[in-house]
Amino acid sequence: MRLILPIGILVVWAVAALLGPSLPLAPNQIDLPQILEGPTLLQPLGTDDLGRPVLDRLIVGSRTSFLVATGVVALSLVLGVAVGGIAGYAGGWLDMVTVRLIDVFLAFPGILLAIALAAVLGPGLGNLIIALSAVGWVGFARLTRAQILSLRGRDHVLAARALAVPPHRILIRHLLPLAAAPLVVEATFGIASVVVAEAGLSFLGLGIQPPAASWGSMIRDGVAYMLVSPHLVLAPGLALLLVVLAVNLAGDGLRDWLDVRASRS
């Protein structure tokens, strides 16, 4: 029952993101007589400093955050599971090198490395996804490796090995399904952090470039007009807050439901 509201918010987010292009929106329509208007019947969220409708830009921005979040989490998950799974199952020097590599990546706190990478790669949607995935895979790799290490001694794995099942098949068919639950929970929380990271990079001017819209760049552009039109900052920020809250609540629910012991304390 408690999850109805969060899931509702996430559905609205996804629908706005996916249906956005087929809606009659005018996110880049500059209308200079109408700049910095407050909310009206015609423009429910008012207009920005170029007279563009804030609601339309918010919907287009939801597409940016949704595409980046799903793209980055999917890419990080595939990469992280592959690296962590192979290292954990193979063991030996391969595992040792991987652990050292993970340690090196973890030496960069938070999105620092993504900021640096985005700065070197240059702005844009594709580079944004690459930069965030380059940071995101580490958590999945570490979790997968830990799971595989604890599972690889199980009887059914030994049986499969005795039957000369090839390693990649053991990994994919016999080990990963058992490691899936914590990975799914981790991926859910990952969506929240990528949404914030994308908006943060766009806020710094390293993400989506104008005139395309991101909630982060909307906040950045709105800050200059905060005193006259606070709605420019309030609207995208509230959208961001709601999505992150909803993802976190859904993640908590999923964790309880899948009965995963808290891996992130």
Binding site: V104, F105, G110, L117, R220, L241
Partner: protein, 306 residues
């Protein structure tokens, strides 16, 4: 203990070497030429070649790598392209404000989180607990690049209590510290609550209660001491989030620290400075984590010497 220190320190050095290598590879191997990025695509070939030679980019990669590592051992991070002076001296100027901000945020987070977490634990499942955990949920979710502008709007523009930005007055510290400290306070409050709850179920707490100690004394003198340990570890880990959060918070408030320096340098395409700030923040983070590990072992005799 001595062996633990040696093991931890050598692991730290190895990680730092790896981090320096990663940053080097990042700048040198990622498609996109720093010279192109700095001069723009319309630059003349002669200018490019000149800048390339000035930055040592015409040497073979391994030579550049060795020069770079050699420089690092003498704290030589190259010269800023924009300001024409050593990166290290710019970093030295920008570091104190960041440390001040981080320390203030950490203090603020602890003064909020510990009472809040203890209160929540003592009123488990009741209104106070729900309120505290509601705050925690919200505090984790609110992005600092939104909280910062909101605080400026309310306290600087509407109420006029604090300066909008900069570091001229002592009150300038308040809003950035709240912005940066809120999410940390939220994470820590939850941790303190869980940690106190876990300890409160132990036998020695029952003994303390049985001998007639007041509930306050039980919590303060007995429960909190043991509840501290996991909180301490988390503080060390979260300091990384604090340092990377400082990049955005300092930019919002024009706080003259390492974080805003990094963003300025990125916008000016001043790559030696970008590289210096990234390395400095990573080094601080690794240092703090190693120190936390060692402090943990010093405080808790049960930590085994692996």
């Amino acid at each position: 203990m001595l062996r633990l220190v040696a093991v931890r320190l050598s692991a730290m050095l190895l990680v730092m070497l790896g981090a320096c290598t990663l940053v080097f590879l990042l700048i040198h191997l990622v498609p996109g030429d720093p010279v192109d990025a700095m001069l723009g695509e319309t630059a003349r070939a002669a200018d490019r070649a000149a800048l390339r030679a000035a930055m040592g980019l015409d040497a073979p990669l391994w030579q550049q790598y060795l020069d770079y590592l050699g420089g690092l051992t003498q704290l030589d991070l190259g010269d800023s392209l924009r300001e024409q002076r050593p990166v290290a001296s710019i970093l030295a100027e920008r570091l104190p404000p960041t440390l001040l901000l981080a320390a203030a945020s950490l203090m603020l987070a602890l003064t909020i989180a510990i009472p809040l977490g203890v209160l929540a634990a003592r009123h488990q499942h009741r209104l106070l607990d729900r309120l505290a955990m509601g705050f925690s949920l919200l505090g984790v979710a609110v992005p600092n690049f939104w909280l910062g502008p909101l605080l400026i709007l309310v306290f600087s523009l509407w109420l006029g209590w604090t300066p909008v930005s900069g570091m001229q007055q002592p009150t300038s510290l308040i809003l950035p510290a709240i912005t940066l400290g809120t999410s940390l306070a939220a994470v820590l409050a939850r941790m303190v609550r869980n940690s106190v709850l876990e300890v409160l179920g132990d036998d020695y707490i029952r003994t303390a209660r049985a001998k007639g100690l007041s509930e306050g004394a039980v919590v303060r003198r007995h429960a909190l001491r043991n509840a501290w340990l996991p909180v301490l570890t988390l503080v060390g880990l979260q300091l990384g989030a604090l340092l990377s959060g400082a990049v955005i918070t300092e930019t919002v408030f024009a706080w003259p620290g390492v974080g805003s320096l990094m963003v300025e340098a990125i916008q000016a395409r001043d790559f030696p400075v970008v590289q210096g700030t990234v390395l400095l923040i990573a080094a601080l983070y690794v240092l703090v984590n190693t120190a936390t590990d060692l402090a943990y072992a010093a405080i808790d005799p049960r930590v085994s010497l692996r």
